[in-house]
């Protein structure tokens, strides 16, 4: 698992989902967590701070998760940050599109705390060449 000081950004327009993900991360021992309500806010926060992990929803106002992901991957300073899509969009084409756009993994809502933990661990292990 990533070290406890890892800085997470949760991007979701629904406050309930942001609280759920935050609670799960807290239980996993992570406290360095910030939130954004849409893609625009997320990009601004990512550009302003040193984040290590992004948990990104798909359907959001202003800028959706897919567009946000493309912009993260197109930005020299941000493109290395691992992104896990956390979304209710369970269609095969969405998963493919997200992976092609550079998502490191994909979690379908509703999910269990174990699923989120496994995905974070998987992405982290892959990045560390494990």
């Amino acid at each position: 698992m990533p070290p406890k000081e890892t800085r997470f950004l949760i991007v979701d327009d629904m406050s309930t989902m942001r609280k759920i993900v935050r609670t799960i991360l807290n239980q996993l021992g992570y406290t360095n967590i910030e939130e954004a309500e849409n893609g625009k806010e997320a990009l601004a926060k990512l550009r302003a701070g040193n984040f290590d992990f992004v948990l990104l929803d798909w359907n959001m106002p202003e800028m959706d998760g897919y567009e946000t992901l493309k912009q993260i991957r197109a930005d020299e300073k941000l493109k290395h940050i691992p992104v896990i899509m956390v979304t209710a969009e369970a269609k095969k084409e969405n998963v493919l599109a997200a992976i092609q756009a550079g998502a490191n993994n994909y979690v379908v809502k509703p999910f269990t705390p174990e699923t989120l933990k496994e995905k974070i661990e998987k992405v982290w292990t892959a990045l560390k060449g494990g």
Binding site: M14, S15, T16, K19, I20, P110, F111, T112, P113
Partner: protein, 186 residues
């Protein structure tokens, strides 16, 4: 034609007019109800999202407090275990630690299940979008019927202008619909 025949004809005509009025009432009533119910439906659905969100957040707050209490409880157990208690007490403490961990996991599962609010809200938002489209369609029908009506040009312009204003706006509010219905004499 005899007077009796004329009387019969007038009687039949009056009955037909009466029937027509009843039929018109049958059509106008649901139209009126739909016009006023649709904006209310969107508002009610938005309230559902708001209220469930508030309640879910309250429940999550309580669950988070419970998890924090359990964490403190686990810390106390760890402290007692660090004092190297005798075998039977150690066994009890380890059992308590295991049970409190299991409780924490169950609470976390309940917190995660609260995602139903997010998923249900997303579906409700889609229904609201459909309702908004439906309202716009009804307004378009109103505009078309006003254009072919016998109203004066000034009245037509006023009503069509108001309806167009509502159509181009982001949302259609009950007040606007009521004003338009008033203009139409409904």
């Amino acid at each position: 034609m005899a007077m009796e025949d004329v009387k019969q004809l007038v009687k039949e005509l009056l009955e037909e007019v009466k029937n027509l009025e009843t039929k018109l009432d049958e059509v106008v009533k649901p139209l009126e109800e739909t016009s006023s119910a649709l904006p209310m439906a969107s508002g009610s659905l938005e309230d559902v999202i708001k209220f469930t969100e508030q309640s879910v957040h309250q429940i999550m707050g309580i669950l988070n407090d419970l998890m924090s209490e359990l964490q403190e409880f686990q810390k106390d157990i760890d402290f007692l275990l660090s004092l190297n208690p005798i075998g039977s007490i150690r066994q009890k403490l380890e059992g308590m630690k295991e049970r409190s961990q299991r409780l924490s996991n169950l609470i976390l599962q309940v917190v995660t299940l609260m995602s139903f609010q997010d998923l249900a809200s997303q579906q409700i938002k889609k229904v609201i979008e459909v309702l908004e489209e439906l309202k716009k369609t009804i307004l378009k029908i109103i505009i078309s019927s006003v254009e072919v009506s016998s109203l004066s040009d000034e009245q037509k312009e006023k009503i069509v202008g108001k309806a167009t204003e509502m159509l181009t706006g982001d949302r259609i509010f009950q007040e606007d619909v009521d004003k338009l219905l008033e203009e139409l004499g409904l």
